[in-house]
C-alpha cells in the first residue's frame, strides 16, 4: 500500500507552531490537492512528506512505515518544484537521467524510461538543450519528465504551474491528469489556485493558518463547505454568508422575513442566530416578490455571465451570478433561494451545522 498517513503531525519553528496537529490520510493512487492561502502551511506539509522539513511532533507514515527519520533520498519520492529546479549545467537528457544514474540503472533501462517520458511530454528533439534554452512551459515539462522517469509511487508537486501563463496552465493541467492516469502514483499537489484544485483533485485538503479545514471531494468542498472559511475561500465570487436570526419557524435576513423550510427544523432547532450560506449562482433573481428584497448596487460583465452585487437594507452585500443578460435582471428587486441550495453555519464558530437527511435528522458525515 503506497498510502500516506499523518498522525498528529505538528511543525514548529522554535516556539512558533506553523502546522497544528494534522490527522488525515491519502489513499494509494489518489490525486490530492493541498489548497489554501499563502502562509497556510501547505508547502510545509508537502516538504514534510518529501523529508525536506523535519517533523516536530507526531508520525508520518508512508506505505504503513513511519518515515519521520528516513532521509529524503530514501523515501522514493518524485517532486516537481515551483521554479522547476532544473540543473542549469546539465542538458535536458542529463537532467532527466540524473536520479536514474544515482539509482545505477542500466543504460538501456535509463534510455527506455527517458525516451518514453520525453515522448509523452512532447519533448523529443530537445534532449541536448540546456535549461536556459527552453521556454517556461518546456522547463516545466522537463521537470515533470524528471519526476516521472523515476516511476516513484509518490509524486509531489509544489505549485508547478504558477510560473506559466493562463493558456499554458490549462494545457498543463490536462497533461498532469493524463500523466497521473498513466502512472497512477499517489499524487500530492500544492496550490493556492482554486481552479487548479477543482480541476485536478480527486480530493481537496483545504488548509488555513496551519490547520486542516476540510478534506473532501471537490463537489462536497464546493457545495457542502465545512466552515465559513472554506465557503468563502472557494468560488468566484465566494459563497454569500448572511447573518440571520431564527424565531419559531421564521428566519430574518436584513429586514426580510423568510419561512423556514420544515426539512431544516431539526437541524436548526435551538439556535437563535445562524449564518446562512448561498452560492451566487444559486441565488435566483426576482423582479417581483423576492424572498429577500435588495437593490442592485453593481453589475460586472464577465462575458459568459454577469455578477450582480445586491445590497440589503442592513448594508450586507449579496453576489448573484446569472446568465440572464436582460435589462430586467439588472433591475431586480431582490433575490430568492431554494432551501436545498443552502448551507447553514454556527453563528459564532462558523462551523457547518449539517444538512437535513431524509429521516429528518442532521447529516455530519462529510466532516469526518
Amino acid at each position: 500500500m503506497k498510502n500516506i498517513e499523518f498522525k498528529a503531525v505538528k511543525k514548529k519553528y522554535d516556539e512558533t507552531t506553523v502546522i497544528q496537529e494534522l490527522n488525515f490520510s491519502i489513499k494509494e493512487g489518489e490525486r490530492l490537492v493541498l489548497l489554501g492561502p499563502s502562509g497556510c502551511g501547505k508547502t510545509t506539509t508537502l516538504r514534510m512528506i518529501a523529508g525536506l522539513e523535519e517533523i516536530s511532533e507526531g508520525q508520518l507514515l508512508m506505505g504503513g512505515t513511519v518515515v519521520n527519520s528516513v532521509a529524503p533520498g530514501k523515501r522514493n519520492i518524485a517532486m516537481v518544484f515551483q521554479n522547476y529546479a532544473l540543473f542549469p549545467h546539465l542538458s535536458v537528457w542529463e537532467n532527466i537521467t540524473f536520479g536514474l544514474k544515482i539509482q545505477k540503472l542500466t543504460e538501456q533501462e535509463m534510455a527506455k524510461r527517458a525516451k518514453e517520458a520525453l515522448e509523452i511530454l512532447n519533448l523529443t528533439g530537445y534532449e541536448n538543450r540546456k535549461p536556459k534554452e527552453l521556454s517556461g512551459g518546456q522547463k516545466q515539462r522537463v521537470a515533470l519528465c524528471r519526476a516521472i522517469v523515476k516511476q516513484s509511487p509518490y509524486f509531489l508537486l509544489d505549485e508547478p504551474l504558477s510560473n506559466l501563463d493562463a493558456q499554458l496552465r490549462q494545457q498543463a493541467r490536462t497533461e498532469l491528469v493524463k500523466l497521473h492516469e498513466i502512472y497512477k502514483p499517489t499524487m500530492i499537489y500544492v496550490t493556492h489556485d482554486q481552479v487548479e484544485a477543482m480541476t485536478i483533485a480527486q480530493r481537496i485538503a483545504i488548509m488555513n493558518k496551519g490547520e486542516l479545514q476540510q478534506i473532501d471531494t471537490p463537489e462536497n468542498i464546493y457545495h457542502r463547505p465545512a466552515n465559513t472559511f472554506v465557503a468563502s475561500f472557494i468560488g468566484t465570487p465566494p459563497m454569500n454568508l448572511l447573518s440571520a436570526h431564527v424565531r419559531d419557524h421564521w428566519i430574518f435576513i436584513g429586514d426580510a422575513c423568510v419561512p423556514l423550510d420544515a426539512s431544516w427544523d431539526k437541524v436548526i432547532a435551538g439556535r437563535s442566530r445562524i449564518t446562512l450560506g448561498i452560492r451566487p449562482e444559486k441565488c435566483l433573481l426576482a423582479a417581483e416578490k423576492p424572498m429577500v428584497p435588495a437593490e442592485v448596487s453593481y453589475v460586472e460583465n464577465l462575458g459568459s455571465q454577469r455578477t450582480l452585487r445586491l445590497t440589503l437594507k442592513n448594508q450586507e452585500n449579496v453576489f448573484v451570478s446569472t446568465k440572464d443578460f436582460t435589462q430586467a435582471a439588472a433591475s431586480t428587486k431582490g433575490f430568492s433561494f431554494r432551501w436545498e441550495d443552502v448551507s447553514v453555519f454556527d453563528y459564532k464558530t462558523g462551523i457547518n451545522i449539517g444538512y437535513p437527511t431524509k429521516e429528518g435528522g442532521k447529516n455530519h458525515e462529510i466532516f469526518n
Binding site: 518529501a50 529546479a85 542549469p88
Partner: protein, 275 residues
Amino acid sequence: MRTKLDKNILWHLPLILAVFLQLWPIIFMASTSFKDMDQIFTSTLNPLPFPPTLNNYVAVLEDFPFLTYVYNTFFIATLVTVCKIATSVLAAFAFVYYEFKGKETIFNFMLLTFFIPITVLIMPNYLLMSKLGLLNTPWGVILPQIADGMGIFLMRQTIRGIPKPLLEAALLEGAGAFGILTKVVLPLIKPSAIAVTIFFFINSWNEYFWPLLVLQDKENYTLPLALQMFISAEGGSEWGIAMAVAMLTSLLPLLLYLLCQKYILSTFMQSGVKG
C-alpha cells in the same frame, strides 16, 4: 557629442597615468633582462635594449640551479593551492548545506582571522614547525597555509547563490552530500572556484616572507628567495641576471592569469552564480 568626448578624455587621463605607473616597472624589468651590463648603466631610462641580448637568460639557466628553484616553488605553490581550495570548498559547502549548532558563531570567528596581522602569526607558526621538525622542508612552508579564511568566505558566498531547490532536488534524486557537492555545486561554482584557485596559486608562487623564515638551505629555496640572492651582496650587481630571473618567475603566474582571465573578471563582476 564633443562635450562627451572631452569628458571621456578627462576620465581617461588619470587612468592612463595609473596604467603607466603599473606597467613601468614591468617594462623596465623586461628591457633590463635583455640588456648587457653596459647598456643597463648607460641608458637607464631607455626601455628599448639595443642590441637585445639573451646572455642573461643563458647565464641564469647555465650557472644557477634555476630549474631546482622552479621545481621547489611549483611544488609548494601547487600543494598549498590544492589544499587551500579543497578546504575552502568543503568548509564553505558545510557552512551552507548543514544546519548545526553554533554555525554562525563559528563562521564569524573564522571571519575574525582576516584581521589578525600575519606578523602575529609568524612566531607561533614558526615554533610549531620547529617542534614538528619541519623547518627547512617544503612541508614547513605548506602546512600552516592549508586553510584560508578568505577562501572559505568567498566560496561560501558563491555557494549561497545556488538556489536551494537545486540542492533539494538532487537530495530527492538520491544524491548524498558528496554527490550534491560534486555533481551540482562544483559545476555551478566552477568559474569562481577557478578564479580563487588562480589567486591562491599566484599568492603562493610569489610568497617571500614565510619561506624565507622556514627555508634555510639554498637548494630548498623558492624563486622569490632565489631572486633575492642576485640582488643581495652575494650576487653583487648582476642586475641583468636578476631581471632575467624575475621575468622567468613572473611568466607562469602571468600565463595562468591570461588563460583564466574570463573567470577572474566574471567573479569580480558578479561574485556569485545565478540559478
